[in-house]
């Protein structure tokens, strides 16, 4: 699937929820299914700064695609990273660099983009895109 297709799939999934508790329960479940980063890669280099919770993100370049793994000490953050990984992992660097990120607002997680919280979510997206930029010409 393309990044756009995955984003649309996520938007329609989130449309089904009637209230915030259902949405958050889903995010928490996603957190539990996050492709977890190998402990060896939980280094300060792979830590995303600016989050209230700790976030580690690691990328591997396999068959011209970037494969992301991550972890966080907070389960909601883990769920949000899981959504980002579902969108951006196993995609080409160019597609990742070009991707829009307005789906976050559409699924009602904009509050996690606020200056205080995320610095979190914005920093995660920035880091994903930075990885992609790094592999753009390889």
């Amino acid at each position: 699937m393309t990044i756009d297709q995955i984003q649309n799939e996520i938007i329609s999934e989130f449309d089904m929820f009637n209230d915030w508790t259902e949405k958050y329960e889903y995010i928490i479940d996603l957190g539990k299914s996050l492709p977890v980063i190998n402990d060896a890669f939980k280094t300060s280099d792979n830590t995303i700064k600016g989050c209230q919770s700790k976030v580690w993100l690691y990328a591997e370049y396999i068959n011209n695609k970037l494969i992301f793994t991550a972890d966080s000490d907070a389960i909601i953050t883990k769920g949000i990273v899981a959504i980002l990984i579902r969108v951006f992992s196993n995609q080409s660097p160019k597609d990742i660099v070009d991707a829009k990120t307005d789906f976050i607002e559409k699924i009602g997680l904009k509050q996690h983009l606020s200056q205080t919280r995320a610095n979190g979510l914005s920093s995660m997206i920035k880091q994903i895109k930075l990885y992609a930029v790094g592999y753009l010409n390889k």
């Binding site: 508790t21 928490i28 209230q52 389960i75 909601i76």
Partner: protein
């Protein structure tokens, strides 16, 4: 809520327009008072009224409006002087906040310290009462020593006594810990420091909203606070300094207002308090801060303290009924702050969930990372109560935490 403390909570809440607002579709429950307190209508009105009827630059103008604005501004200084029981109003300096006040003093000590001199900080400080002094140490090669804390979140006084010596120049401790609510024995800390000739700065940001402070009785050399934490506007800070100390410190910033005479060869500085108030100050904010002082004095800080302590007791008991709650800072002598965690659940997760229920608490390290390191935790959830909060609001918080626990376990 039953009125046991001599004030009408419903009418108090009417004074604060923001308390009627909704957040995420839910009635706002505001429990982040240690970060900033809400603003009563009289204070908001004072700001509007200043710009509608009084706006002029102070101290300089001969015209009537400027004189009126000056009177109102200096009137606020006298209110603060009286409130803190300072000897002279010239010992009250207006700054932009506690942080600014601390930086002003720490910066002034650059000229007064030499290599090998010692300064003492406490483990319980906000970063704003650590970092300016660390910068001072870097510039002067002075050495910083730290008063340790115990598991209950109290400073260990006997250890403090061991740190003091003839090399000690400054001691800086908060009156109340922002992260835990611990009320420190500042009078004893000050008197011990004075035995060694050291100056003492007390950060009163978390004390002024809750109880009476008498700088003469404390015999404190510097006392700082922020208006937005005692129901005033943001951008106004207070620095009380004993005249002899304020005269010793050099000016912090140069500019208008703070001069006596200026030539290109040499400038002589104005007397206190103007020496430390370069430029046009936050005139409306200062005047409104005076109104905030009037407001809390009209209710009475003794009444406020009694009510807040009852709320603290209620909230502590209710929280502890939830299995897995651990409260950090268990001293008997604390303000209405509860710092806690729930089992192994991350504070951020709890904060995010209960925010959806309209409840505002603070999560994180509360700008007091050494305390979190001491307890070996990344942060806590901090509930900080004000006299406009109610038992019903605490019940809402408890329900929200139980919901969060269910969702996150």
């Amino acid at each position: 809520m039953k009125n046991t403390t001599g004030f009408n909570i419903a009418s108090i809440r009417e004074d604060f327009p923001i308390l009627r607002s909704k957040v995420n579709g839910k009635q706002l429950v505001y429990f982040d008072n240690a970060a900033t307190t809400q603003t009563p209508k009289v204070v908001i009105d004072a700001i509007v009224s200043y710009y509608s009827t009084l706006n002029a630059n102070i101290h300089r103008g001969v015209h009537s409006l400027s004189q009126k604005a000056t009177e109102a501004y200096e009137g606020a200084r006298k209110k603060i002087q009286k409130h803190l029981n300072a000897k002279n109003s010239s010992e009250i300096i207006f700054t932009s906040g506690s942080t600014h006040s601390i930086n002003l003093v720490a910066n002034g000590f650059i000229d007064l310290l030499k290599s090998g001199d010692e300064i003492i900080v406490s483990y319980l400080e906000h970063h704003s009462n650590i970092v300016p002094w660390q910068m001072l140490c870097e510039k002067t090669d002075a050495i910083m020593k730290v008063i340790p804390m115990n598991q209950d979140g109290e400073l260990i006084f006997s250890e403090y006594e061991k740190l003091l010596s003839n090399k000690t120049r400054v001691v800086f401790v908060n009156h109340v810990s922002n992260a835990l609510g611990t009320i420190n024995p500042v009078k004893e800390i000050i008197s011990k420091a004075h035995e060694f000739g050291a100056a003492v700065l007390i950060d009163g940001a978390q004390a002024l909203p809750h109880f009476e402070v008498d700088v003469k009785d404390l015999d404190v050399d510097f006392y700082v606070g922020s208006a937005h934490k005692f129901y005033g506007p943001t951008g106004v800070g207070i620095l009380y300094g004993k005249e002899k100390w304020l005269n010793k410190l050099p000016p912090y910033q140069g500019g208008g207002e703070m001069i006596d005479e200026v030539t290109f060869e040499k400038t002589t500085y104005a007397k206190l308090p103007n020496k430390f108030e370069a430029g046009t100050p936050n005139i409306s904010g200062v005047i409104a801060s005076g109104i905030a002082i009037d407001y809390i004095n009209n209710i009475g800080l003794k009444t406020i303290l009694k009510y807040e302590n009852a709320l603290l007791k209620y909230a502590t008991e209710k929280l502890l009924e939830i299995d897995g709650i651990k409260i950090y800072g268990n001293t008997d002598n604390k303000t209405s702050v509860i710092s806690f965690n729930l089992g192994n659940i991350h504070h951020y997760d709890i904060g995010s969930i209960i925010d959806n229920e309209g409840i505002a608490v603070r999560t994180g390290h509360h700008c007091a990372q050494p305390i979190m390191d001491y307890y070996k935790i990344p942060g806590t959830i901090r509930l900080s109560l004000s006299f406009y909060n109610t038992k019903e609001e605490i019940d809402s918080l408890i329900s929200a935490i139980i919901l969060a626990k269910k969702m996150l376990s």
